[in-house]
Symmetry: C2
Subunit: 458 residues, 2 copies
C-alpha cells in the first residue's frame, strides 16, 4: 500500500490536536450535565423519506447501499443524518411513551453532508446540540434556559484556564418580533420580507430595499422601516425603546419584544468579557422553520466563517398527528470552530500522549521494576508509560521530550528513585507510592498562540 | 409523521441505558489513558479498495453515494468502515512522519456492517480498540502490555463499584505455538489444520478429526495429537509441561511456548476474581492474519454470544512497501456486551437525567430565586435542574421520582432552605452554597440485577 492521501472534506486530527477536541467535548458535556441535560446518541442513519422532508437539503444526503445487496430490501432507503435535529425529533416520537417531558437532552455526534467541500464546510463533522422539548406546550423560560446553558458552555470554552478558544458573540432575535413588525407596517408577504432582509449580510442595504419593493410588495417607506428595524443592535433590553420609536404596533410585535427582552435580561449575568450577547434584529435564520427565538453566534476574529452556533424555537419540533412536541435548542459546530483553529496552530495540545511520566529503563531485565513504578503511579491516577527499550538515558529523555511528557522517572542502581522535570532539568528524590505531578501537568493542556492578522481572515 | 419504528440492527438506548454505556466508555478511556494510550478518532469512511482488501468482508460494507451526485467523482468509491483496524493502519501510513513510535492508541467509535441482523450482530455498533504499533520492530513485551491494559479495563468494568458487569474470561493462545506444533508433527498444510481445529466450538471432536484426515492430509495419529493440543487449558504457565508431554519439538513451537508463558506470567497479577485468564490452546482466530499472540474473551453467563473482545499480534499491521509496521492490539465490542445486558434489564442507570437535585418552585415568580439555588449548586459541580412549573409540591416530588432524581430542594416562605431525600423522606435545613449530596448520589449509578437462568442463555 502506498502512502494514502487525505480525503477532502473529512478532517482528521493528530494525537496532540485530538487532545483539544476531547477537552472541548468534555467541557461541553460537563456543562450540559450540570444543567440536567441527558446525553443521548442516535444511530447514524435515518430513513431517506425523513431526511428529505426539508427539500433544500436533499443534495447533501449520503445514501447507503450494501455492497453485495441483491435485493432492494430493508436498507434500500437509508442515508446518513446531516444534522442532529431530524434524528432527535424521530427519537422523541419513537420513544415518547418512555420519556419524561419536558425532556432536556444533549447530543454530541458526527454528521455527514455530501456537499462539495469548501472553506469551513466539511463532509463529516461533529456537532453538539442541546434541546428542551415539551409535550403540547413548552413555557418560554426554556428559551432563556438553553441560552444560559450554551453561554455557560461558551464561557468555559473561551476561558484561558479551561480551553482558551477565542471569544464568542451570541446574537439573538425573535421571529414574532420581526413578523409582528412587518404585519404592523401593513406588509403581507412576511416570509418573503424575512428572506430578503436575511440577505443584509451579503448585499448592500439599498439593494435589499430595492428587492423588498420589487419582490415583497413593499413601498419605499415600508422597505426603509424594515431596514431600520434590522439595524437595531443592543447588548441589553434597550432595543425595546428603539423599536417603539419606529412607531409600529402589533400584538405579535409586543409578544416578540417581551420575549426577547426577557431573554436578554435572563442572559445578562452570563454575558460580558469573552462571551457577549447582542439582541441583533437582523438575524432571521431564513430557511428554517423557527417560530420565536432565533440564535446565531460568531467566533471572534473569524466572523467571516459565519455562524458557528445556531438554533431557535420550533412550535412543532415533532408531531405524530395527535401530539405536538414544541422545542427550543441550539447547535454548536464543534469541527466548524476547531478544525480551522487547529489547522492554523492557534490551539494545540501540550503533548501527544496522556502520560505525565516516562519511567526510564536501565536494562531490559529491570522492566518488572519499572512496571511496578508505573503501576504505583497509576494507582493514584497518574497516567504514565514505561520506556520501550533500555536505551541510554539521554535517548530516553529525548523520547519523552518528543511526546511532550514532562517527567522522567529513574530507578537508581542503589534502588532509590528520582524524578526529573525535563523542562527545568530539576531532578529530585521521589517515592512512587506518594509522588504526584503538579495538577497542571497531570493531563495534557491546551497551548494557545495568537494568530497573525493574515491567518485570522478565513 | 406517524410513530416511527426502530431499524433492525441499529440499536438505540433510552437515557437511563445510555448512562451505563457512557460510564463504560469513560471507564475504558480512563484506563487506556492511565497506561499512556492516546485517544484518536478516524473518519467514518475509507476508500472502497482499502475496505475490500480482506476479501471475505466484502458483503458487509456499506457503500456511500451522494443522493444528487451527477458525476461519479471523488466520493464514488467510499464506504463506511467495518472495524477500527483498517482505518488505524491507514492513519498510521498517512501520518507516519508525524507520529512517534512505538505508537500507543485507543479508539472508541462506531463501525457499520451491512450484514443481516441476527442475535448479537448489529449493523451499527461501538468498538473500543487498543493497539501498539512499531516501526520495523515491536518487542514482545508490548503483547504483555496490551493484555494487561485490557485486563485492567475489564476488571474495572466488572467491579461492582465501577460498572458491575458480569465477569470475563480472557483466552490467550499463540499461533507460533500451534503452527510450530503442527510442523513438528510433520503436517504441511498448517493454515488448513488451524482452520479446521477452529471449528471445535461448533463441531464434535471426532468430526474435526475426520476433517483433518480428509482435508488437511493428516494421519489419524496426527489428527489425535492436534486435538490433544487444542484440549489444553491452564490458568498459569503449566500448559508448557502439558505440551512438552506430547513429545513434539520444533523451533517455532519453542518460541510460541516461551511467548505465551511470558504473557501468562505477566498477566498473573491482574488475573483472578471476576476476570480470569486462560491459556487456551484451541483459540486460533481462524480467518485473521495474526502471527503470534491471539486473544478471545467470553462474558460470564453469555458464553454462547462468542468472543466479545478479540485481537492479537500482526507482524505487518501496515506497510507502505518501504517500511513495515508490526502491531499488537485488542478490540472490545462495547455494543456487543452492553446491548443484550441493557435489553434484558441486567444493568440500567439509576436515573434518566444527570440531575442530583430538583429545585422546587413555589410560584412562577420565584423562578429567579430557584435559578440562584441551582447556580450555587452547579458552582460546586452538583448537577441540578429547576422544576418546569410551579405545581403542587407533591407533583414536583413525583416529577423528580419519575426521573430518579434523589433530592428535592425547597425555598421556604421565610427564605430558609430545606432539602429532602425523596427515597428516605428525610428533610433537613440546607445552604445552597455549602450543601453537597453524598458522593454516590452525585452522578447516576449503574443498577445491576442478576438475570434469571432462562434470560441468561442467548
Amino acid at each position: 500500500m502506498s502512502k494514502p492521501t487525505p480525503l477532502s472534506g473529512f478532517p482528521e486530527l493528530l494525537p496532540a490536536q485530538r487532545v483539544v477536541e476531547q477537552l472541548v467535548v468534555d467541557t461541553l458535556r460537563q456543562t450540559f450535565e450540570l444543567h440536567g441535560f441527558a446525553g443521548i446518541e442516535t444511530r447514524a442513519v435515518e430513513p431517506l423519506d425523513q431526511l428529505l422532508r426539508k427539500g433544500d437539503t436533499s443534495k447533501e444526503v449520503y445514501v447507503l447501499r450494501r455492497l453485495q445487496a441483491e435485493e432492494t430490501g430493508s436498507d434500500a432507503g437509508i442515508g446518513l443524518h446531516f444534522d442532529l435535529t431530524v434524528p432527535f425529533a424521530r427519537y422523541v416520537l419513537e420513544n415518547a411513551g418512555k420519556l419524561e417531558f419536558p425532556f432536556r437532552r444533549f447530543q454530541i455526534q458526527k454528521v455527514w453532508r455530501g456537499e462539495r467541500p469548501q472553506d469551513g464546510r466539511y463532509r463529516e463533522f461533529t456537532q453538539a446540540d442541546i434541546d428542551v422539548i415539551g409535550r403540547d406546550t413548552l413555557p418560554f423560560h426554556h428559551d432563556v434556559e438553553v441560552t444560559k446553558v450554551m453561554l455557560d458552555a461558551l464561557r468555559r470554552l473561551a476561558h484561558p484556564d479551561v480551553v482558551g478558544l477565542p471569544g464568542f458573540r451570541l446574537q439573538v432575535n425573535n421571529r414574532k418580533l420581526i413578523q409582528g413588525f412587518y404585519l404592523g407596517l401593513g406588509l403581507q408577504q412576511v416570509d418573503e420580507v424575512m428572506r430578503l432582509v436575511d440577505k443584509l449580510d451579503k448585499l448592500p442595504a439599498e439593494k435589499v430595499a430595492a428587492l423588498l419593493v420589487a419582490e415583497a410588495g413593499a413601498t419605499a417607506e415600508q422597505a426603509e422601516a424594515c431596514l431600520r428595524l434590522a439595524g437595531i443592535r443592543t447588548e441589553d433590553d434597550s432595543f425595546v425603546e428603539q423599536v417603539r420609536a419606529l412607531g409600529i404596533s402589533h400584538e405579535l410585535l409586543d409578544e416578540g419584544l417581551e420575549e426577547l427582552a426577557t431573554l436578554m435580561r435572563g442572559a445578562a449575568p452570563l454575558a460580558g468579557g469573552a462571551v457577549r450577547v447582542t439582541a441583533d434584529l437582523s438575524i432571521a435564520r431564513g430557511l428554517d422553520y423557527y417560530t420565536g427565538t432565533v440564535f446565531e453566534t460568531r467566533l471572534d476574529g473569524y466572523e467571516s466563517m459565519g455562524s458557528i452556533c445556531s438554533g431557535g424555537r420550533y412550535d412543532a419540533l415533532a408531531s405524530d398527528g395527535r401530539t405536538t412536541y414544541p422545542g427550543v435548542g441550539i447547535s454548536l459546530g464543534v469541527s466548524r470552530v476547531l478544525v480551522p483553529l487547529l489547522a492554523r496552530g492557534v490551539v494545540t495540545g501540550s503533548r501527544s500522549v496522556p502520560s505525565a511520566v516516562l519511567v526510564a529503563l536501565a536494562a531490559e531485565e529491570a522492566r518488572p521494576e519499572a512496571d511496578a513504578v508505573a503501576d504505583a503511579l497509576r494507582a493514584r491516577a497518574v497516567p504514565c508509560e514505561v520506556a520501550p527499550s533500555a536505551a541510554k538515558f539521554g535517548k530516553q529523555i529525548k523520547h519523552a521530550d518528543r511526546r511532550g511528557i514532562p517527567f522522567v522517572w529513574f530507578v537508581q542502581p542503589d534502588g532509590t528513585h528520582q524524578v526529573k522535570d525535563i523542562r527545568s532539568g530539576e531532578q529530585v528524590d521521589a517515592d512512587p507510592s506518594t509522588w504526584t505531578p503538579p495538577s497542571e501537568d497531570l493531563r495534557p493542556q491546551v497551548t494557545t498562540t495568537a494568530p497573525s492578522t493574515e491567518e485570522k481572515s478565513s
